[in-house]
């Protein structure tokens, strides 16, 4: 009995951590290139809504059957990347304040899904239910393998390819990168758009993997938890994945316990305190109490080429 409980907790941790890992790794590309990404939440919402809406359309109108979630996934990537492109143009071309634009994207994306689902599905912010067999794979083993592959790939790209080197140098010392012939803005566009791709997949997994419809504001702050995990993981791929697993674990516990966690001594820990853990840890790490977490040096500063 005890073993079953532990296994189900692990499985649920993996399931819950998956969207976080994808979004956080997306944020990693953006932030490592020097562009702050508080808009992960908005991009995940864009992905989640588009995935559910398009999967539904592909399933009911085009009768695509098992292929429909994959069509939904591609559409989610496209939608989230489109949002990322708006953000990138505002921040990189027009040098808009990155935090303000990010906040704008987040507010916009609370509204857009509700607006569209009101119009298309005559609902108050959710999409119709999808059939259970027309969703993305949910087996924890499959997901774990895919996630490990993605993390490995990203680790390789960031640390062992010319693109990764450019990405890191643009985020740390854009002047030096520029002097060495790297187009700072082009690398930043790539970073922000990749964030869109990954956050879109993360969002899609929420609506057509973990559940079978989109509901109003369904990310419920996961974009911010992903951001927290990125900081807690010190802007490094493997550590960020581990941070996401830790935060997924706290979520799994608070769901599994339905209210309060019993300590061995018999006392209760209210679920609210477990929900706080990721946020408190992030503040503590950012302040340098447990090791130090140093952001890329040029983070948040638009690059102005010297004339």
């Amino acid at each position: 009995m005890r073993d079953v409980f532990t296994l189900s907790l692990i499985a649920s941790t993996i399931r819950l951590a998956t969207p976080l890992i994808l979004a956080a790794l997306g944020g990693l590309f953006s932030e490592r290139s020097g562009v702050i990404n508080i808009a992960l939440e908005g991009k995940m919402l864009a992905g989640a809504f588009t995935a559910a809406a398009v999967t539904y359309a592909a399933d009911t109108r085009l009768h695509m059957g098992n292929a429909s979630p994959w069509v939904g996934l591609l559409a989610a990537i496209a939608a989230s990347t489109f949002i990322a492109a708006i953000y990138a143009i505002a921040c990189i071309k027009f040098k808009a304040d990155q935090v303000v634009s990010g906040a704008a994207i987040n507010i916009l994306m609370i509204g857009i899904p509700g607006f569209l689902s009101g119009a298309f599905f005559l609902s108050s912010g959710s999409t119709p239910q999808l059939p259970k067999d027309h969703l993305l794979p949910q087996s924890p083993v499959v997901i774990a393998i895919v996630i490990l592959l993605i993390v490995g790939l990203i680790w390789y790209v960031v640390y062992h390819t010319p693109f990764g080197l450019r990405l890191r140098s643009v985020g740390e010392k854009p002047e030096a990168a520029d002097a060495a012939g790297v187009s700072v803005n082009r690398v930043r566009y790539a970073g922000v758009l990749l964030a869109g791709v990954l956050a879109g997949i993360g969002g899609a997994y929420l609506s057509i993997g973990q559940s079978s419809l989109f509901t109003r504001n369904m990310t419920a702050g996961r974009g911010f938890i992903a951001l927290a995990a990125l900081i807690f993981g010190k802007w490094r791929p493997v550590q960020t994945m581990l941070a996401c697993l830790l935060f997924g674990f706290t979520e799994a516990i608070s769901i599994q316990m339905q209210g309060a966690v019993k300590l061995p001594s018999g006392e209760d820990i209210p679920v609210q305190f477990i929900q706080m853990v990721p946020y408190v840890l992030t503040i503590v790490v950012l302040a340098g109490f447990i090791g130090s977490s140093r952001p890329p040096k040029a983070l948040g500063i638009p690059y102005q080429k010297e004339k």
């Binding site: 987040n106 507010i107 857009i112 009101g118 119009a119 298309f120 305190f273």
Partner: protein
């Protein structure tokens, strides 16, 4: 005067542009934008309901707009108004419940102080973290928002809920903590409309923030820190102190939302009461060009939209109240990318002059 007009011009362009983009979206989903916009804006102009509710909705937005403004003027981005107002509102209710039997002469000031202090303390935390450890206030205020929501939800659920009440709310505060609704003084304004004295407090706060920032030494030092930190430091201003002070003042202003909601409207703390006031405050401050007068105007605009959203939901075929969030997001995006308009207008001017040649 021309300067004032120029200040007003750009926000106006941003709002008009946002309404045009929103109108296109409304057309795309198959409704008539003029009808939708008439519902959205027209409903706010009726007396007494439209105007009363619009001013009531504007009250928290003036407070949070001012809060974000004070942060911006010090070079800080306070995304944490949402968390600060939750802590403050709960603190207000806590004092109102704990000392329920005191006379209004004592209890009203005590509850107001609780709102202001609660917000100030929660706001000062990211200030201290930034001043002491250099950690970014944007991240910390985001994190503190979630912590605040969880914390007050815990206290509400475990300690201050009326047993058996299925809703997450505290018991009522004492009568001594109630502040009057404006309907009491204004003929024709029924007292069921929750517009209350906190609205006047919000206007007063605008004046005080103006005097504080532009007429006191502290305000001068905060603005110097915001406009040029290294020059300020060279001039003998302690940057760390200004950061903590600005964040505490910012939090205190956000906290005053608690006065409006707990003492003037619900007479209890209601979990999740804030309709994104803290985040809308960002839009209010930006659109109001970080000036108290601008904040009042921008808060009124967003209050009109918020009130009208309900009518859009009820009376239009496809458009929902989500259009309000959409417009808000587009407005902020346009305000943020001011350079976009300069580029756009500049390009048109260029092509025109090219044609003239």
């Amino acid at each position: 005067m021309t300067n004032l007009l120029r200040q007003l011009l750009f926000p106006l362009i941003a709002v008009v542009a946002a309404f045009i983009v929103g109108g296109i979206l409304i057309l795309l989903v198959g409704d008539n934008p003029i009808v939708a916009y008439r519902l959205l804006i027209g409903s706010a102009l009726s007396w007494p309901d439209g105007i009363g509710y619009t001013l009531f909705h504007a009250t928290p937005l003036i407070f949070t707009g001012l809060a974000v403004l004070v942060g911006f003027r010090c070079g800080l981005f306070n995304i944490g108004a949402e968390g600060q107002l939750y802590i403050a509102a709960f603190a207000t209710a806590w004092v109102g419940i704990t000392f329920a039997n005191l006379s209004p002469w004592l209890l009203v000031p005590m509850c107001c102080a609780a709102a202001i202090l609660g917000g100030a303390v929660w706001g000062a935390i990211p200030g201290v973290l930034k001043a002491r450890f250099g950690s970014h206030e944007v991240i910390n205020t985001i994190m503190l928002n979630f912590i605040a929501v969880a914390l007050v939800s815990y206290f509400t659920q475990y300690h201050y809920k009326v047993p058996g009440d299925p809703i997450m709310e505290t018991s009522f505060i004492g009568y001594g903590a109630h502040i009057a609704r404006l309907g009491k003084f204004i003929p024709g304004l029924p007292q069921r409309i929750p517009l209350n004295l906190a609205f006047l407090l919000a206007l007063l706060a605008c004046l005080l923030v103006y005097l504080f920032l532009w007429r006191t030494k502290w305000g001068y030092e905060i603005r110097s820190t915001g406009s040029n930190p290294s020059a300020a430091e060279y001039g003998g201003i302690s940057i760390g102190k200004q950061i903590v002070l600005a964040m505490a003042v910012s939090g205190a202003l956000a906290g005053m939302v608690g006065i409006n909601d707990v003492m003037g409207y619900r007479y209890r703390y209601y979990d999740g009461f804030s309709d994104n006031y803290g985040f809308t405050g960002i839009a209010v401050a930006l659109l109001g060009r970080n000036h108290p007068v601008g904040v009042i105007l921008a808060a009124l605009l967003f209050a009109v939209l918020q009130h009208g959203g309900i009518y859009v939901d009820g009376f239009s075929e496809h458009v929902t109240k989500d259009i309000v969030q959409v417009l808000q997001g587009i407005i902020i995006l346009f305000v943020a990318a001011e350079a976009f308009f300069k580029w756009f207008l500049g390009r048109n001017a260029l092509t025109k002059s090219a044609r003239a040649n």
